[in-house]
Subunit: 461 residues, 2 copies
């Protein structure tokens, strides 16, 4: 018996074909809303990819002039100067509601402490003759994209800028679109976002968004510096631009709609699970909030709780659309099957609301972040548990990690062989090179065989 | 006074504008040879990007049928079955020249030992209430692209497959184009390459190459499994295909021509430095072999040695083209300036052939792999020093690392707060959510404030 609920119930085979199916990452490009937005600016014959390509190329060629053009055309907010005066950040922090300031500070402190605790270090081994290992070096310049518009997210500023600064990045450059809601201010940006930038230690902030901001960070303009890597979430146009510029600059990944998968047994609190599903669904009609449980009676209690809570939610309409098209409850044979489905789906967020979550943890293979037990609910992770909330979506958790200090560093191989080892290895390298018909490689190795010991260079210490 | 030499001499301002300039990563797409190759198959009106897009889409839609079509059309080697029988790998190893086998084994042992030594571990901290940290999980399926054709590289098999297996990847799937030189064999692949696959522990090998192989790995066909990430170098078509499929699958980066930058002072052996430059240049007319030195007399000795050695090299013509267009010696003010130029260039390989290389190491910020002292010459790194030879090119060392065990793993965030901490943080999360106008997020946090302590779920241990 299925309870009438905004949270649809699926059996496993149906779920696999619908809500648990992974479409191609760029399916969103084909949404009618995206096509319409492109047509309104470029006419009906220009594809979304072509539109983004034109914006990126224009900024690359014309710099600030193009940046100004596209900002006026697409954001429709006049921006006197892209650069936000550094003093405006501190002032936004100083004039922020003190209660909110304390919240931002507490979040910043926990996020910083967590990222500082990750044990990533340069290393050397002496076991192979001389010293071999990896240097670990921070990136020099990082660009952070922070979405603006109707829902600016100061939490994203903390989650991107803080780990970059913990890693030792010299220049962390935040870009965020000018916000129509603050168009009358000198700096048309949500003050909480500026305050978060001050707290996190952003070195520069610019009011520019969309594909044009990504192009500016990738290639530099008169007013915006070229960076080494661009991180942070954005809408589909931002994401397409990131894919286009990748190679000339690093990127953290291709963000898609957010997803939560909750694996629960009958021991979980159905009202909490319902509340967590609604929280996830309110982000976006394309967001996915999915419950997997072997306990049908429990699922029904969650469905009832969803039905009761939904009308009280401010963003009920978004939630309804999300649950109807992307969300649902899946009745699994057992927890084992639920975990198998979770691994195949590779969710951005995976919550284990089960009696003994640590017991199930070894089965978790693919997820962005895992929440153990229903006290560790996702909303805490969104803001201030500590781990990063910029996480792989769309199934990319199968190959990518969320942001962490390592996202802002590089492992540089280090080869410092002692002369004896080098002499021993030279004939092997020469033989290998001959097998690959790289004769000059062989000759470089043979030169060391003839002449070893005659170098004026001391052995590396 | 400049010595007549195949290694041109540059001053710093000229070098910055020529050999040390970083062109866009995809400049190679516009090479006449690439255009001609595309025109020969698709006609004169199809761009290289469009050609690669068509191949990828075709394989995605038609699977093996398309794979067979493009293999016949582009590789022109009949392939009865893409899958190489697993027994053929072991047989190739068993029948390999014993001396070469010992070389491959020695290389495999050192590469394995180095990658096993990298200290990457899951971690937890209890300092923030409960347990927070990262799981570290291997990828499940990895595809390795190994170039074939005129210069098959067994060393690349070792450098890609071994770290993947060390990381714990379950299925490592090697693809390599069918090789015309072995078209009469049952398996048209260089036996040394198959032997290396056996030694490295490859789980499957397929004789398919080019953009069609990348598409097969990204989307799967009847005979080739879809993977989670594709790694390994390839030609420009392979690289373009990797960029196209990125997002539906992970990639290691966009490989370009190989580069070595040698920083040397007067203490270095000019003949060794010359031999190392020639080894680098023999890869490809587009390869870059560059010397930076403040010692003009030393540069002249290297130029003389290059002139003397070059005629003796088997690939002299390739070397000559490379040195003429991409390589050279740059006379710097001092070693400091040489290191600054090296960091700005961010070379794939950086060799410090100076009297006290460890002293200069802290100045190294951007490189794929650094070689300390001229005993640690790059050819050893190519084959068996231990660190990986699949390294970032084209300046991408500013944001990317070479392959390492971490390239085959993901950090999964872990949140297991204790109930007291969760209760303390819930009001802060609620306030933060309200500031972001995410009311359902606030409600999920508030639910814990009302009901904390009533959950049937035990606290995570």
């Amino acid at each position: 018996m299925t309870v009438e609920s905004p949270l649809p119930l699926y059996d496993v085979p149906t779920a696999r074909k619908t809500i648990l199916r992974r479409p191609p990452w760029d399916e969103a490009v084909e949404q009618p809303a995206v096509r319409r937005a492109v047509a309104a600016v470029f006419g009906p014959d220009v594809s979304p990819w072509e539109a983004v390509r034109r914006i990126v190329q224009d900024v690359r060629r014309r710099g600030d002039e193009a940046l100004r053009h596209w900002t006026e055309r697409l954001d429709r907010v006049p921006v006197a100067s892209f650069r936000v005066p550094q003093a405006a950040l501190q002032e936004a922090l100083n004039t922020l509601d003190p209660a909110l300031r304390r919240v931002l500070e507490a979040a910043a402190d926990r996020i910083r402490a967590f990222h500082q605790a990750q044990p990533l270090h340069a290393w050397l081994t002496q076991a192979l003759g001389g010293s071999l290992g990896h240097l670990l070096r921070p990136l020099e310049r990082v660009g952070v994209y922070v979405p603006g518009g109707s829902a600016p997210l100061p939490s994203t500023v903390l989650m991107t800028v803080i780990p970059a600064k913990v890693a030792g990045v010299e220049r962390v450059i935040v870009v965020t679109p000018p916000n129509r809601g603050y168009a009358d201010r000198e700096v048309p940006v949500d003050p909480a976002l500026l305050a978060a930038a001050a707290l996190a230690g952003a070195d520069e902030v610019y009011t520019v968004g969309g594909a044009q901001a990504i192009a500016a960070l990738a290639y530099g303009t008169e007013s915006i510096p070229k960076v080494d890597k661009i991180v942070g979430p954005g809408n589909i146009f931002v994401t397409m631009a990131k894919k286009l510029v990748y190679g000339d600059v690093g990127i953290d990944g291709l963000a898609g709609p957010t997803e939560t998968l909750i694996v629960a047994d009958g021991s979980a609190n159905p009202e909490w699970v319902a509340a967590d599903l609604l929280a996830q669904a309110e982000h976006d009609p394309l967001a996915a909030a999915i419950l997997l449980s072997p306990d049908l009676a429990f699922i029904q209690r969650v469905q009832q709780a969803v039905a009761q809570q939904l009308p009280r939610r401010a963003r009920a309409e978004v939630i309804r659309l999300s649950l109807q098209h992307r969300g649902g409850a899946v009745h699994t044979r057992d927890l084992e099957e639920a975990l198998d489905l979770a691994n195949a789906y590779a969710p951005e967020h995976l919550a284990l609301a089960v009696a003994d979550p640590w017991r199930w943890l070894p089965k978790v293979r693919h997820a962005g972040c895992v929440f153990l037990g229903e006290h560790s609910f996702e909303v805490l992770g969104d803001y201030l548990a500590g781990p990063n909330h910029v996480l792989p979506t769309g199934g990319s958790a199968r190959y990518a990690s969320g942001l962490h200090v390592g996202s802002f560093m590089r492992w540089i191989g280090l080869v410092a062989l002692d002369p004896e080892t080098a002499r021993d290895l030279a004939p092997l390298a020469a033989a290998f090179a001959q097998a690959e018909t790289l004769e000059a490689h062989a000759a470089a190795a043979e030169a060391r065989m003839e002449r070893s010991g005659q170098s004026a260079v001391g052995s590396p210490r």
